[in-house]
Symmetry: C2
Subunit: 489 residues, 2 copies
């Protein structure tokens, strides 16, 4: 075993043992890790070929000891220790909900603007390499929605090399036996994401299935959840997304989902972010196990304009995980212009949420980013990079209803900075002070502001200089997709 | 008096009488017109300089007699007759609600796509001439929203030449005495509209006022309504719009508005269309006196997409009389692109409603079409002409929910014609048959269809030939604002 491990990296115990159980995946093994008064229990897992492993991600530096508890006699009672050293360069720990926003363990804010490649891990090596390369070149994507199970749907009918369970579609699957080779592959993919600073928003169940993974019985579902949490809880960049469109898995009840969440809460000693994503109505995001709202828009026309209402209702941060995609396929969710996707993304942003991208251009090779990854073809990713820069410069912002006139949402940090987003409005001028009765009132507080026009489409900033609140009259270019940022000086 | 008058033209009785009343505008005069068993009562009015008039628009041909009843002794008991001859060429009578649509008295459907020039009648002669000329060149506008009273608002602060009441803003107004010269001017404007086939959607009250016309007492309001109905009920192309944004006239109650409507119903023997337009919530359009819903959209983002719900709720035809304007002024309602205005207009159309245009481009001379008329500068009017052609070709259509997939509204005439509107969706293909589970199902009935792609923005039609329902797979250009029309063959 490693005797040194950097903070927030993965320490691993690995040992062969004679296996005579009917199903070695049912054998329980766990370790209690201790440093001073801090004690954490990490569950282990069977990795095939007689090998059992326990992983641990230490979250503070110093000497840790552990003791193993197992029904496998050879492993039970083993003890050991290791030293947690300072984190690797750039390592920030696990992402957490912090108030209505997100931050890593080290306190650095995380702006989880994201994208979606549901089945990228199920594609051939070269395509996966392209996906990682595309993400590496797109710092505006800090999170990717991706499925554990393969996907069977329009433009996505190829079989993967590896499945999460033993067996194959030609014969059958044994849903009682996870496939360690698949999970090792999944871990490699998650590590690749980690290396480029991307969070893996891991979808544990979905309905786009023809292998039976969507219809396993409760025992298999629970075994699967115990297995995946044992393997992945020590990866900093994992988020648990219980489902994509949970309500399409019609045989699963609220009790089932709550039960799944309970297993994850018990087994994930690192308490990763956890959410559940809807097709129609939202799951009850008030439940304590839900760390943030993972939202699919509910209306075809009015989408992220509801973001502030959702955040207010649930008092949790929100990722807008399906707001339509840039593309030109048949479905209404997959044929938006980049302009419309970015408009929705900015509406989400100024209303305090974190929007998600997707790309669905018809392609002769049927490789659409949203499903398989590969090369990004659209115009949105560059604009996500630009939005990420704005996020980082500005800090986490909330929707400010009392600063927002009826026709223009304003988000910001009270007393520090305000961003007004004009969306499809394209005025040639706008007054932001309250003294003129007609000129588009807003109620910024008294003070002096650095005023910047943000052309969110052309990704350009225009510095308008310093203005007193009473002089906040801004000439604009008469184009859509402009924002104005007011920074208190 | 004229001894002949064409059907649906204005016959007028005019006679001087000695006036010794304190207010001759309070003297009652009316005539009962009779042809066979048909009897209609038209109220007369004082036209100034000792002259009283009674107007009448006969709605059937043949010999009409009349008898005058008045508290003016010289006029009381006068009788006479005239002959109603066939209508002038192109004359179709008064526009009526017909089911959920509109038609003239002669049965011809009217598609009241419209525009808005609130204060055009209050502008100088040359500007008015331009307005009429602009309308004449835009057959897509069959209705214009316009105010009786002048307007005081952004970009509209010039005083008119004539006011609806005696007096002037330098001294004061006598709200008890209508100004016959102004009303004669208004009638000339309405006649000019009539000559080019445009309906005058006449706004009787509005809040954009600094003359006191918005705050007259009940007696003055009632006198004004009696006066204007006496003068204008004989004009075929008048629609009564009780208010623009009735709810901004905060001192007026529902009882007041219902009282106004009662006066109009009693006095307007020709029963012109009557509506009341909102700013915030709708007036109760279920009231029997309301012939159609005159609607301002209630949400900034989702606007005419509600049209079918409104029509269903009120079971009356709907004109969408404020859905945002093409322009670039400061206000969110006045800085849409032409594309967005047309998108909203088509959403209204396929959902069974009749959208209204407006134009608000910043102009150095402060002449914005929406308020003053003049020259049309935008890109929407040509597209309204195109939409009008589609209306005429297709006939009045209703929203067909059972034909509409979740992401694409379909309107039409069941068994005859269906129009699917794709709006901001821009697919490269779409299947319209129901046999493929994923390809954008719709449920057109069995049969063969002439299929046409309508490029609503580029105003072009592509004939795709005849297809059987099972073959309804349509290749599309991957651009926004397309519709597809299916005509049963």
């Amino acid at each position: 075993m490693n005797s040194n491990v950097p903070r927030w990296s993965v320490w691993e115990f690995s040992k062969s043992a004679a296996v005579d159980a009917a199903n070695p995946f049912d054998l329980e093994i766990k370790a209690v890790f201790q440093k001073d008064n801090r004690r954490l229990t990490s569950f282990g897992f069977y990795d095939g070929e007689g090998v059992f492993k326990i992983r641990f991600m230490p979250d503070c530096e110093g000497e840790w000891t552990y003791q193993i508890y197992s029904e496998i006699p050879e492993l039970d009672g083993l003890t050991g220790s290791f030293t947690c050293t300072p984190p690797k360069a750039g390592e920030r720990g696990v992402a957490r909900a912090q108030g209505l926003h997100f931050a890593y363990d080290d306190g650095t804010p995380l702006y989880p603007l994201g994208t979606t490649c549901y089945a990228w891990v199920h594609q051939p090596r070269e395509l996966r390499r392209q996906t990682i390369e595309s993400l590496r070149k797109t710092p505006g994507f800090k999170k990717i929605r991706m499925c554990v199970f393969p996907k069977h749907y329009d433009f996505n009918t190829n079989e993967p090399e590896l499945y999460a369970f033993e067996g194959n579609p030609q014969s059958s699957f044994d849903y009682t036996r996870p496939n360690p080779r698949f999970f090792a592959h999944l871990e490699a993919c998650i590590s690749d994401l980690k290396d480029i600073g991307v969070e893996a928003d891991l979808i544990l169940f979905h309905a786009y299935d023809h292998w039976g993974f969507a219809n396993m019985d409760e025992e298999c579902n629970h075994r699967y959840l115990k297995y995946i949490t044992a393997r992945l809880s020590s990866y900093t960049n994992v988020w648990w997304s219980l489902a994509n469109e949970y309500d399409l898995l019609r045989h699963l009840t609220e009790q089932d989902w709550d039960g799944f969440a309970k297993i994850i809460e018990e087994r994930d000693y690192a308490s990763h972010l956890m959410s559940i994503h809807n097709c129609f109505g939202f799951y009850n995001h008030n439940k304590p196990w839900i760390t943030h709202c993972s939202i699919q828009r509910q209306d075809v026309y009015k989408t992220t304009e509801y973001t502030n209402e959702w955040i207010k209702a649930y008092q949790k941060p929100a990722t807008l995980d399906e707001i339509g995609y840039e593309g030109d396929i048949n479905w209404g969710w997959g044929n938006l212009t980049a302009e419309e996707l970015m408009r929705r993304s900015w509406e989400a942003y100024v209303r305090g949420g974190y929007p998600g991208h997707g790309e669905t251009y018809v392609s002769p090779d049927d490789i659409l980013w949203w499903s398989k990854g590969g090369i990004l073809k659209g115009e949105s990713p560059a604009r996500y990079n630009f939005l990420m820069e704005i996020c980082k410069e500005t800090g986490p912002i909330d929707y400010l209803p009392e600063r927002s006139p009826w026709d223009m949402p304003v988000g910001g940090i009270e007393g520090k900075v305000y961003i007004a987003y004009l969306g499809f409005s394209r005025p040639r001028f706008r007054a932001f002070h309250s003294s003129h009765p007609y000129l588009g009132r807003s109620n910024l507080p008294e003070g002096n502001y650095k005023v910047e026009i943000i052309d969110t489409w052309n990704m350009a900033m225009t510095n308008c200089g310093i203005m007193a609140r009473e002089d906040l009259y801004v000439e604009l270019p008469g184009r859509q997709y402009m924002a104005v940022r007011f920074t208190v000086v």
